[in-house]
Amino acid sequence: MSAASTTLPSVSLAARARWPWAAYGLLTPSAIFLLAFTYWPVLLVVLNSLTVTGFHGVAHWGLDNFGRLFADDHFGAAVRNNIVYAIGTIAPSLVLALGFALGLKDTTRFSSALRTAIALPMLIPLVAAASLFVFIFLPSAGLLDYYLGRFGLSETNWLGDPSLALGSIIAITIWKNTGYYMLFFLAGLAGIPQDLLDAAKIDGARPWQRFRHITLPLLGPTISFVLIVALLNVLTQVDHVIVMTQGGPSDSTSMLLFYIYQQAHQNYDVGLASAATVMSVGVLFALSVLSLRSLERGIHHEV
């Protein structure tokens, strides 16, 4: 039994919960939708991934789809890109978000204007952000090259050069998500008792020491929560790839979900798409179990 049970209120309420039916009744509305749109499709995907079909051929069971998946260079490229993308977006946007939150946690007119500015990108659709950035990255005529050109830099093909394209996609993601994470950090910082920090100050702790030994440990649960959200974003958002690069050039911006999308909707290869989905759900499952445990621990600190 997890530590959560200790937070249950008094006996009289717990006693009423002797009839579990009431609890199950409250869970039913959610459960219906979860069954239809989460658990059932997962089952279907697993079945499809194990079904081998050819052109006008008879279907049979087997692991051929997984064999083809691992032999597919495009899948390998998508996984590699996704890992680079994960590291490239999560670390900078978390650090930036925490930095912004620390700098802007006091509410003044000026800081709230800046907070708004940084949070704005989270409010616009990724597709809209993508069409904005298509222009910003336009070689030579676009916003970036236009101003870089004034410093004597020559035109750069930000989205068309395989060694730069993923970096450009990463830049958009950081721009888009940092404000969102900042809101969580602001909330987390507000929960740190000011007297604790004041006491440390009196004891002669320097700003960095206070941050290192008080703020950071107390932000632990927030950090792990934001980390989970960020991980999910990395694996579940590909709108910008679809609008901006279609995974190109030469697969340099293809990612797991984009690969699945492509197999399912451009190549009509349900078997391969399902096998890739099973793999990605597997990864998500492993990550979720790990992170949920750390998250639950973190929260019990607080409660």
Binding site: A23, L34, V42, L123, A128, F133, L183
Partner: protein
């Protein structure tokens, strides 16, 4: 400070470009400083190129509908997990939270099949259905309910109130910050979603803003009228931007007072 400036540049360009009278080949399209006369021609053209009133309407209905259903499912389940004791509770909680990881975009193919079987393909209800349960919301509400002292409920229980009455009259008003935080997250994410609505709808009458915008900015064979695209993007983003600027303080404080810390 400098970073914050960097953050708004794309928006600044969006505004300037959308006000600059359209010339696909003008040399200064990238400039952030408006040169020459400004006009609203691009807005007019973007507005007439798309069906914005319809797209706004659909997006409002979609986001509002999802949120309304979610509030019910999420509060009930959140309460059960926060306050009640029953066999398999921890397992069920983990099973619920799994949805956090199994987002609809990954399950597009099977979910489309389900929609067709339920005759929900190409309807707004179909687009909304997979989101009606929200693990994120259940998690958030469980945390929020836990921060509310049990004394309030016990008083109501003594008065003979039913569980649903307690949730509705006692707990939900106290849990408003949590619900607000969840509403913000829910509405922004569904307002901005693209891939799933694109797949689940086909007729123009069910298109939402993001799908509409993509279909009119995606030119395959010819060049682009950047000013018009910028204006269209502005139309999509405007309602949320205005709402955020107007309610910024409330937004941030609900994040603070809800259970997410």
């Amino acid at each position: 400070m400098a970073a914050a400036l960097l953050w708004v540049i794309p928006f600044a360009w969006m505004v300037v470009a959308s006000l600059r009278p359209g010339d696909a080949g003008a040399a200064d399209i990238a400039s952030l400083l408006p040169a020459g006369p400004l006009g609203t021609g691009n807005f007019a053209e973007a507005w007439t190129s798309g069906h914005f009133p319809l797209w706004y309407g659909n997006t409002f209905v979609l986001c509002g509908g999802i949120l309304a259903v979610q509030c019910v499912t999420v509060s009930l389940a959140g309460y059960a997990f926060a306050r009640m004791r029953f066999p398999g509770r921890d397992w069920l909680f983990y099973a619920f939270l799994l949805q956090l990881m199994l987002v609809p975009p990954i399950l597009i193919v099977p979910n489309l099949t389900t929609l067709v079987a339920l005759h929900l393909y190409d309807t707004l209800a179909g687009v909304a259905a997979p989101y009606c349960a929200s693990a994120f919301g259940v998690f958030l509400m469980r945390q929020t309910f836990r921060t509310i002292p049990a004394a309030y409920e016990e008083a109501a229980l003594v008065d003979g109130a039913s569980r649903l009455q307690i949730i509705w009259h006692v707990l939900l008003p106290l849990a408003r910050p949590g619900l607000t935080a969840f509403a913000i997250v829910s509405v922004t994410s569904h307002w901005n979603e693209f891939l799933w609505p694109l797949m689940a709808t086909s007729s123009p009458s069910t298109q939402v803003l993001t799908v509409g915008l993509a279909s009119f900015t995606a030119g395959a064979e010819a060049g682009s009228e950047w000013g018009v695209i910028a204006a269209g993007t502005f139309f999509v983003a405007a309602p949320l931007l205005i709402a955020f600027v107007a309610f910024q303080r409330q937004f941030v404080s609900s994040f603070t007072f809800s259970g997410i810390k």
